[in-house]
């Protein structure tokens, strides 16, 4: 049973990670964010499986914290599309 749980954890982690590494290159920032979101869910899943298999206690709270904050990167990404702050130099002369 332990080996099965570990194998499942490895399988899930690797499918989502392959997705992440492939998608980090783009095409768009929205795609990168999606890949990170998928890795977040897959990561939590593998964390629970690994903890259940290796008998580490208290991992539910780690998963709970990660699940609570899962949307934060995406929210920050969407907010970052906001227009520049009034004090920022114009984007056009940034270089």
């Amino acid at each position: 049973m332990t080996d099965f749980l570990l194998a499942a954890a490895g399988f899930i982690l690797f499918t989502v990670a392959v997705g992440l590494i492939r998608i980090l290159g783009g095409p768009s920032n929205a795609d990168r964010m999606m890949a990170a979101q998928l890795l977040g869910t897959g990561g939590i899943t593998s964390l629970l499986l690994v903890a259940s298999a290796t008998g580490v206690h208290g991992v539910e709270d780690v998963a709970l914290g990660l699940a609570l904050l899962a949307a934060f990167a995406s929210v920050a990404f969407v907010n970052s599309a906001a227009p520049p702050e009034p004090d920022d130099p114009q984007r056009a002369n940034g270089g």
Binding site: V56, P86, D87, D88, P89, Q90, N93, G94, G95
Partner: protein
């Protein structure tokens, strides 16, 4: 190879990788990321010492773990300060270069000096 040793080797590789990024990446934000990689590599080295020091019924030595927790919080506050500095530099000059010979860029609109 045991899990702690493996984690220690990743830690060593992360320190090297982060150091390379810190030296060669010209952008300040990337340097901050690289510096954080070095930090997490060092934390992992602490982690293996903690795990290998498991004794007295504990799965790992609590002292290095507590130091890593302190370290993570301090690393975050240092990164936040560094990013605030970079953003201020950008506000003032419109660029974020660290080259000493680069003169101030186009005048920033409305920024105080």
């Amino acid at each position: 190879m045991s899990a702690p040793t493996l984690a220690g080797l990743i830690g060593a590789a992360l320190v090297g990788l982060g150091l390379y990024g810190l030296i060669t990446n010209p952008q300040p934000l990337r340097k901050i990321l690289a510096f954080n990689l070095i930090g997490s590599g060092v934390f992992l080295l602490f982690g293996i010492i903690a795990r290998k020091g498991a004794a007295a019924g504990f799965v790992a030595d609590p002292v290095p773990q507590a130091m890593v927790i302190t370290g993570i919080v301090v690393a975050f506050s240092a990164s936040a300060l560094a990013i605030a500095l970079v953003l201020r530099l950008f506000q003032e000059t419109g660029r974020v270069t660290l080259r000493p010979d680069a003169s101030a860029g186009p005048p920033a609109n409305g920024a105080d000096t």
